[in-house]
């Protein structure tokens, strides 16, 4: 709802609801206030530079708001058609012209509206702003009777800006773009006509012809036009125009304008074609915006002849040819030559365009690649049609890092207008260079193939120390037998000596003690064996203590009995 008029605290001006709400069931005489309200809002919110404020509270003026306002005013005008004040319309038209002063442009001729507001939280980008302005002024121009005099090149510039952004990914941007193009497609201000070429690359071998299309922004047909190729010149020789003022013929079937035949003197290369279009019907000339001159860069491509290719090895001092071989650059054959550091290698060939003129390609490289993958690249120089490069190995010995061996030769010739750019392995040269001196520079390290850089390492198993050599077991067994032999010898000896057990005590008690004594000795010896087998010293000593005390007691008894027995015998 418009809540303006005499109330100076106008709220936000909402154009959509303005028209819809008034088209509802209000009686006729209320509509008269629409015009009054409209004028009051215009006076309150429009600024002198053509922009509008969002509300009287907000001092900032915005181009986007101006667009919305124009749309609303067009609604007002269409509703209140009987009350229109021509002075007001004229003032609004002036405002629109002033608004166009704030248009911004890029160098390539595109125009757009943009704004940077401080107080608004979300900036309307250039797409939304321009779209709203164009919507507003096309709506306004459709309701007034006079025409708005707007500069046609600026409308064309706006159309080119919107066509140049491609398809935006954001849905709001896409909507703004399509909306604006729809407004420009058919409006009363000026309809921009776009000149485009389906292809800017013309091939002489395929005998392409130059085609030009002229359409409105959304692709509909343009009215009958005359399209003239004003000038065509090579981008390297701008003053020399090859074609001048050639009118293009119209093919009604495809709706294209085409140039029948390029003149015979059209060689391969980069050109700039300048077009101009003019609406045939002079009355409609103001309706359409055609712009002035359109410059289009064109590439004319063709097959370049490469012939007479030779590779030769020359003697440095005399310059005489030692070996010379012909190269077949179109085929697959390779040649091999050999040279040493006192000689020179010369590669030469001739290039010419389809029309026989000299041609200098952008890329003419000769590359020598050593077996260790060290590469050296040289530019093949030219004079006219002849291309030649001479590699003097005497001066290049240091550059080649003194690496002798086989060098693969690769020739690359290419250009944007060459349809048969080539990369050819010509063959190899066996180069014999002197030994490097001590302080020669090393060749740069070559990149390592990444797939071989990481890989499992070789397994390592620890080699254990070999155990010390031990004498063979049989030797130990032999000596074991040898050590036990004396025991048997001792027993045999004792038996030979006639030992006996006659002195063994006969009475019970001393006999028991004697037996226990010997058992005790046997127990100690057994303890020693157990100690050797598995016991530790502490338990052994503990047991030995007890056994020892016991043995001492028993032994004392036995031995004293034996001693007294023998004393009795001696005294008797």
């Amino acid at each position: 709802m418009v809540s303006g008029g005499s109330d100076s605290n106008s709220h936000l001006f909402l154009p959509q609801s303005l028209t819809t709400s008034f088209q509802s069931c209000l009686p006729h005489n209320i509509f008269l206030n629409v015009w009054g309200d409209g004028i009051n809002c215009w006076q309150a919110l429009s600024q002198s530079d053509g922009r509008w404020r969002y509300s009287s509270n907000n001092p900032e003026s915005s181009t986007f708001a101006a667009g919305i306002a124009l749309e609303a005013l067009s609604g007002v005008v269409s509703l209140a058609s009987s009350e229109i004040d021509q002075f007001m319309i004229g003032a609004v038209k002036n405002d629109i012209v002033k608004l166009f002063d704030s248009i911004e442009k890029y160098d390539d001729g595109t125009f757009y509206f943009d704004e940077k507001l401080v107080n608004m939280r979300e900036q309307q980008g250039p797409l939304a702003t321009t779209s709203s302005v164009v919507r507003g002024l096309t709506a306004f121009s459709s309701v007034i009777t006079e025409s708005l005099n707007l500069p046609g090149d600026k409308i064309l510039g706006i159309a080119k800006f919107f066509l140049g952004i491609g398809i935006p990914g954001d849905t709001k941007n896409f909507f703004d773009q399509v909306d604006l193009l729809a407004c420009l497609e058919n409006n009363r201000v000026s309809i921009p006509l776009i000149l485009s070429l389906p292809s800017t690359v013309i091939s002489l071998t395929k005998k392409d012809s130059l085609k030009v299309k002229v359409n409105t922004v959304l692709g509909s047909h343009a009215p009958p036009l005359t399209v003239t190729l004003v000038r065509a010149f090579s981008s390297s020789a701008r003053d020399n125009s090859i074609i001048e003022n050639q009118e293009l013929k119209f093919d009604p079937q495809d709706a294209v304008y085409f140039l029948d035949d390029l003149p015979a003197s059209f060689d391969v290369g980069e050109y700039i074609f300048v077009f101009k279009m003019l609406v045939q019907d002079s009355e409609q000339q103001t309706v359409y915006a055609t712009g002035t001159l359109t410059q289009v860069p064109i590439y004319v491509t063709g097959l370049i002849k490469i012939e007479n290719a030779k590779i030769a090895v020359l003697d440095s001092d005399l310059g005489s040819v030692e070996t010379q071989k012909k190269l077949d650059l179109a085929g697959e054959s390779t040649v091999s030559v050999s040279a040493n550091h006192l000689q020179k290698l010369r590669l030469s060939f001739q290039m010419s365009t389809p029309l026989g003129n000299a041609f200098k390609p952008h890329q003419a490289f000769l590359r020598l690649r050593h077996e260790t993958k060290v590469e050296h690249t040289f530019v093949v120089g030219s004079s006219g049609k002849k291309f030649e490069i001479t590699l003097d190995f005497l001066g290049l010995v240091e550059k080649f890092f003194y690496l002798s061996g086989r060098y693969d030769i690769q020739l690359t010739v290419g250009d944007a207008v060459m349809e048969n750019s080539l990369l050819r392995e010509i063959g190899y040269v066996e180069l014999d260079l002197p030994e490097p001196p001590e302080n020669a520079s090393r060749p740069p390290p070559q990149p390592v193939d990444p797939y071989t850089r990481y890989g499992p390492k070789a397994e390592i198993t620890h080699i254990f120390r070999a155990p010390e050599k031990r004498p063979p077991e049989e030797l130990s067994l032999a000596f074991l037998v040898l050590t036990i032999l004396p025991l048997f010898g001792f027993i045999i000896g004792l038996l030979r000596l006639g030992v006996n057990l006659k002195n063994f005590p006969t009475s019970a008690v001393p006999a028991t003690f004697a037996v226990i004594f010997h058992l005790g000795i046997a127990a100690v010896l057994l303890l020693y064996v157990l100690f050797w087998l598995k016991l530790d010293l502490f338990t052994t000593l503990k047991t030995l203590c007890f056994l020892g005390v016991f043995l001492m007691v028993v032994g004392h008894r036995t031995l004293s009995h034996l001693a007294s027995a023998s004393a009795k015998l001696k005294s008797a």
């Binding site: 980008g125 491609g166 398809i167 935006p168 990914g169 954001d170 941007n173 292809s199 800017t200 690359v201 980069e270 491509t301 952008h362 890329q363 690249t377 040289f378 530019v379 690359t412 290419g414 250009d415 944007a416 080539l422 990369l423 390290p445 990149p447 990444p450 850089r453 990481y454 499992p456 390492k457 397994e459 390592i460 198993t461 620890h462 254990f464 031990r470 130990s476 000596f479 074991l480 037998v481 040898l482 050590t483 036990i484 004396p486 001792f490 004792l494 030992v499 006996n500 057990l501 006659k502 002195n503 004697a514 010997h518 000795i521 010896l525 020693y528 064996v529 050797w532 031995l559 034996l562």
Partner: protein, 427 residues
């Protein structure tokens, strides 16, 4: 090895993840800061950004010279990854500069840098810090007269169709500057390199000296994986990410096959999965070692023990940890140099184990697993364990060489026993 080729060269696709933050449990990045030159890029590259948001990333778009941008606040990093789509920025706004970007990467976060033919010195400096050198000539672009994409509008052969890698449905379109890698740098990898007929030069001017970058030394897209597993993607063409290239068809010069859609979308989606740690991220857990036959981990081993070492390795699939299966994980038993290096055998479910004998050298050893494979994060595990020599009672107990001595001692004892009996009681 075929599996590794597959992974790095953009074969499989993975599913997005749904967790909250960047952490060792969920290594995929979440919050991404995208710095652009102007917001039109948000719209003209919306397919690429859409593919990122559909996988769960939270993108924040800021202008590169916005004075309010910053990577960290109060010592905490606000973002997990940074995307620089601002080739012509002269000076970053806010608290971002080359040093802070390098610190960001050093702390383990990921980075994508896209330059273009009007790349500023600042972006070149960022790339140099990452190990990649762009062509110094500011007007140079990569030109290839043999592998260019046939186009009715770009007649100067700067639009290159590259299919220098395996398993892509269509060639990838590239238009921009090239860079070269230092061959001594082992962390950097060329993902898409130019063909041998390519060179980097200004298309508008003639060449008098051979250009510094020619042939397949020119890299179009490279990746860097730093030692802390931060990943960086560097490319010289911002338009490679644009909707226009995503949608356009490709026809390589000299071939009659016309592809409906270029391989850009597939290529860039897969490689950004790798850069943001949705693929190729490994973790090793549960390192255990014990003597064969026992199950608890001893604090010290003895020489010539048989021991078993086991580890579990998992790979992040984008949403969960899947067992990692490979046949070339190796463990080293290391003290100044590896004494034992053994390949771990796997049970196909991510559990790797190996058995070996402890060497007969004593000292303090380490169980080291250094696993570095192309395209995977590097695993570097190390566990220290001492090794002692034999105790006095662990040697051989009874030596055959000592039998004579045993014999002599026991025969002595037997002789003594007999002697006591005989001596006392014989007459």
């Amino acid at each position: 090895m075929a599996k590794l080729l597959l992974y790095l060269t953009l074969a499989t696709s993975l599913i997005p993840l749904f967790s909250v933050a960047f952490s060792p449990e969920n290594p995929t990045d979440r919050r991404v800061l995208v710095l652009v030159d102007d917001f039109a890029i948000k719209s003209s590259h919306s397919l690429y950004f859409g593919s990122l948001t559909s996988r769960g990333f939270q993108l924040e778009f800021k202008l590169a010279d916005d004075p309010n941008i910053g990577l960290q606040r109060y010592g905490q990093y606000l973002y997990d990854a940074l995307v620089l789509f601002c080739p012509s920025v002269e000076r970053f706004g806010g608290s971002i500069d080359v040093a802070s970007i390098v610190d960001f990467v050093d702390s383990g976060h990921d980075l994508i840098v896209a330059a273009d033919s009007n790349a500023s010195d600042l972006i070149r400096e960022v790339a140099t810090e990452c190990g990649v050198d762009f062509d110094e000539d500011p007007a140079a672009m990569v030109i290839d007269h043999i592998n260019y994409a046939v186009s009715n509008f770009d007649g100067d052969h700067t639009l290159i169709a590259s299919d220098d890698f395996i398993k892509a449905d269509a060639p990838v379109l590239f238009q921009g500057i090239g860079h070269s890698l230092n061959p001594a740098n082992s962390l950097v990898l060329k993902v898409l390199s130019a063909s041998s007929s390519a060179y980097s030069a200004n298309p508008k001017s003639k060449l008098s000296n051979p250009p510094s970058l020619t042939g397949s030394a020119i890299s179009l897209v490279s990746v860097v994986q730093a030692r802390n597993n931060a990943r960086i993607l560097i490319t010289g063409s911002l338009s490679m990410f644009s909707n226009r290239f995503f949608r356009s068809g490709v026809q390589k010069a000299g071939s009659s096959i016309k592809h409906e859609k270029s391989g850009n979308e597939q290529f860039l989606t897969e490689i950004s999965k790798w850069v943001f740690h949705e693929r190729g991220h490994l973790k090793a857990v549960n390192v255990r070692h014990h003597k064969v036959g026992e199950s608890d981990e001893p604090a010290i081993y003895r020489i010539n023990d048989d021991l078993e070492y086991s580890v579990e390795i998992y790979e992040w699939s984008g949403t969960s940890w899947e067992p990692y299966v490979s046949d070339d994980v190796q463990v080293q038993f290391y003290m100044m140099s590896p004494y034992v290096l053994k390949t771990l055998s796997t049970d196909q479910k991510g559990h790797y184990s190996a058995e070996f004998k402890v060497p007969d050298v004593y000292g303090v050893f380490q169980f080291k697993v250094e696993y570095q494979r192309l395209g995977y994060t590097s695993l570097s595990l190390s566990k220290q364990i001492p090794v002692r020599p034999y105790r006095h009672n662990e040697y051989e107990r009874f030596l055959p060489a000592a039998y004579p001595y045993y014999g002599s001692a026991f025969s002595m004892m037997a002789g003594f026993f007999i002697f006591t009996i005989v001596h006392l009681y014989s007459k």
